[in-house]
């Protein structure tokens, strides 16, 4: 690494102008696209009012990319796309072509590089995820490894549009839920199951007690006299539901626990307004063990949900819409997952989730 300070020092330049990296065909037809067609999984064709056609080839990525790989993408863009490409909101890479004859050669080269093409329409797209053990202190699990293991198992549904509708999977490694997994068709969430262990020395050095006390959603933290006249805190363990927010504001509230950390699985959320309104994912499996490097229990559960959904849902039904139709009891029956006391909400709006009708399927 070398350090070469540049002059003058620029600040607040902001991102590149929004049209700086747009291919000419996009600049020409900006805002006047007419319709699109899918030529194959991962291959879209957008047709402009002008008649121009823009071809998109979408490749899956592991999101964590080295500069070597970025340079490979750049080479491909130069070779096939006049140097233009983009990434998607789900961390896929998209090559933007104007010559349909280049689609196949590009796809072949992608195949050689091990880059799968797909993720469009009623396929499983890339899994949105977070840092995990790769970069975050708060992680109750790794994210990248989970995603890799899942996508290995589900890749055929990425390369084939063979599901009733779009299926969005996301992983978050702690309850902060970076990436907003809470509205996914299937969400994998890292969880702790132990109250924080208070590290008194660190606490008195690094944390403000009032902020810390205020950070607890359930009021489980209360100030107590610490060593040397300084204030410390104690945790009312009965009231703690292991959210880890105290750890976010104070490193002395250690949450990580190799034995008790693990995963929970949530289903039926969605974001789009298509048909039904956006909604949160709902608890499906309260706990599975953290079993790196391949998390077989998680893979099995997710595969089960995908398979059952694929077999039972009607065209256009997202996971949550499908469950609306068949009912939660049948979801648990079909997946074989156990319905437990944990599935019953007991937070603020819990009462709203109680079954307030006799609408029951037998």
């Amino acid at each position: 690494m070398t350090t070469t300070p540049l002059q003058p020092r620029l600040t607040d330049v902001g991102p590149p102008r929004y049209d700086k990296y747009l291919p000419p065909i996009v600049l020409k037809n900006y805002g006047t696209w007419k319709y699109h067609e899918t030529l194959a999984p991962g291959v879209l064709c957008h047709v402009a009012e002008s008649g121009d056609r823009l071809y998109t080839v979408r490749g899956g990525t592991p999101r964590l990319l080295s500069i070597q790989t970025l340079r490979k993408y750049a080479d491909l863009a130069d070779k096939y796309c006049g140097g233009y490409l983009r990434f998607t909101s789900r961390n896929n890479v998209e090559f933007l072509l104007t010559d349909p004859a280049q689609i196949e050669p590009l796809k072949q080269e992608l195949a050689l590089l091990g880059i799968p093409v797909g993720g469009t329409n009623n396929a499983i797209s890339n899994i949105v995820h977070t840092q995990g053990w790769v970069h975050c202190h708060a992680a109750a699990t790794d994210a990248s490894g989970l995603v890799k293991s899942m996508m290995d198992a589900l890749i055929d549904h990425f390369t084939h549009e063979d599901l009733p509708a779009k299926l969005r999977i996301a992983v978050a490694c702690c309850l902060n839920m970076c990436g907003a997994v809470h509205c996914s068709d299937i969400a994998i969430l890292g969880v702790h199951r132990r109250p924080p262990k208070v590290q008194n020395d660190l606490l008195t050095k690094a944390c403000e007690v009032p902020t810390l006390v205020a950070s607890c959603p359930t009021g489980a933290i209360r100030p107590v006299p610490g060593v040397g006249g300084k204030q410390s805190v104690e945790v009312l363990e009965e009231d703690c539901m292991y959210c880890g927010n105290c750890f976010s504001v104070c490193p002395a509230m250690r949450m990580a626990d190799a034995e008790n950390d693990g995963l929970s699985i949530w289903v039926g959320g969605k974001v789009s307004n298509a048909r039904s309104a956006p909604r949160f994912s709902r608890l499906s499996i309260p706990f599975l063990p953290n079993n790196p490097p391949r998390w077989p229990e998680v893979i099995e559960a997710v595969t089960k949900i995908v398979d059952v959904y694929r077999g039972e849902a009607r065209k256009y039904e997202r996971v949550g819409e499908w469950i609306d139709r068949i009912g939660w009891p049948r979801f648990f029956e079909l997946t074989g997952f156990e319905f437990t006391r944990y599935h019953i909400d007991d937070f603020k709006n819990a009462g709203m989730t109680f079954a307030r009708s006799t609408h029951i399927r037998y």
Binding site: D12, P62, L64, Y73, D152, H182, S276, P292
Partner: protein
């Protein structure tokens, strides 16, 4: 805890990664392979691999909280990170990330990608996230002394840092008008304009907590704005869906069951199909996009376009997750920027006055009540803001109070 020295640091200097190696198998591209491929660049990737293998053995993270690290004059854009096994993996003992504000819609040229790669080869681990969940390009791991240099090279190359801390966070948007026929406003331009308007608020945290802005140009919401943006701008239209009956018939011929697939899936059942013509009672249409999604050649949004402004999404902590909710039911496309700038200012003024530390705007609204919030920012209540009026009779009637005063 496993004996780290045995498990992950053999004589040859390169860590042994038995567990991670498992993740190089299988058809999906491997992040482990990516980390390994950056091993040449700096020692960062190498030690990252070692520490990660240790985490895979221990089943805990080996990162510690970051302190305040950053670049001169900015309060955000860098996430400080330290290893708790730094003696063992000295090259990741400090391993901070930079959040680099992505170009709108995540468009790049090969040139731009190479520029970034070169800078990051000189100054960092050679590892990135394309992209982070908020939308930034994430430069994954460097040391404090490289931060300023990286920053300066970035700004000279036309890039700047994104947000972190109690600040405006890097706005993001869908591909919109650049490639999508359904865009109801220019999401990329609006996103860019807002980002430029709030450079100061983005780089120098001065808000009660983070404030995220996301723009999706139609109700499909391809950046998931409604699920995770404090301010969500989502495109829609006011007039009638445009229908090409001939194309509807083509879809029918091609096997689409118009009655079952299209009409029966309409949330308000406002469509009629008589076998020849598709009839939409636009008065009852809630612009959900389903019929348009399903038959893009036959149906299109109307021409009176604009957006719904929604407020308050966030992840669960502290008071439970929130979805954004309607604040202004419709703003015409060409009035969006001005309207938003004025609105955001009023929202921030209110937040500044009444928000507590680390209270997202959505939580503040929950706490003080939507009506009080509307009063505070000077908006009239509208029935579009609620899914239904209140069902409980606990009404704080004001006239009575006013009389008394």
């Amino acid at each position: 805890m496993a004996d780290a020295d045995e498990g992950v640091k053999p004589a040859n200097g390169k860590p042994e990664t038995k567990l991670l190696d498992e993740l190089e198998k299988g058809p999906w591209p491997s992040f482990v392979t990516e980390i390994k491929s950056a091993q040449g660049v700096t020692g960062g990737a190498e030690d990252l691999l070692g520490q990660l293998e240790l985490s895979y053995e221990d089943k805990v993270s080996h990162w510690k909280h970051g302190g305040l690290v950053g670049v001169l004059g900015y309060g955000g854009g860098v996430i400080g990170r330290y290893s708790d096994v730094g003696e063992q993996f000295p090259k990741v003992a400090h391993f901070h990330t930079l959040r680099v504000n992505q170009p709108a819609g995540w468009f790049y040229t090969s040139e731009a990608l190479r520029t970034i790669s070169d800078i990051w080869e000189r100054h960092g681990s050679g590892l990135t996230n394309m992209h982070g969940s908020t939308g930034d390009m994430i430069l994954l791991g460097t040391t404090t002394d490289h931060l300023e240099a990286t920053f300066q090279e970035l700004t000279h190359a036309g890039f700047d840092l994104g947000g972190s801390g109690s600040a405006v966070r890097t706005p993001s948007c869908c591909v919109g008008m650049a490639r999508c026929e359904w865009a109801c406003f220019d999401a990329m331009k609006l996103c860019y304009d807002l980002t430029m308007a709030y450079q100061d608020e983005l780089h120098r945290p001065a808000l009660p907590y983070k404030f995220k802005i996301k723009c999706s140009a139609c109700p499909n919401d391809c950046v998931a704005a409604i699920a995770r943006a404090d301010l969500s701008v989502i495109g829609t239209w006011k007039d009638d869906i445009r229908i090409d009956q001939a194309e509807v018939a083509n879809y029918a011929t091609a096997g689409v069951d118009i009655q079952k697939d299209i009409c029966a899936n309409c949330p308000t059942r406002c469509m009629d199909w008589n076998g020849k013509e598709l009839n939409i009672k636009n008065r009852d249409c809630v612009r959900c996009m389903h019929c348009i999604n399903a038959m893009p050649k036959a149906l299109r949004p109307g021409v009176e376009k604009g957006a719904v402004i929604l407020i308050g999404a966030k992840a669960p902590i502290l008071q439970g997750a929130l979805l954004s909710s309607v604040l202004i039911p419709f703003v015409a496309a060409d009035e969006l920027l001005d309207t938003l700038k004025e609105l955001i200012q009023r929202i921030w003024d209110f937040w500044d006055e009444y928000g507590t530390n680390r209270e997202r705007i959505g939580e503040l609204i929950q706490r003080v009540g939507l009506a009080a919030f509307l009063d505070g920012i000077g908006l009239d209540p509208a029935p579009e803001m609620v899914s239904a009026p209140r069902d409980n009779p606990y009404i704080y009637y004001q006239p009575a109070k006013e009389d008394e005063a």
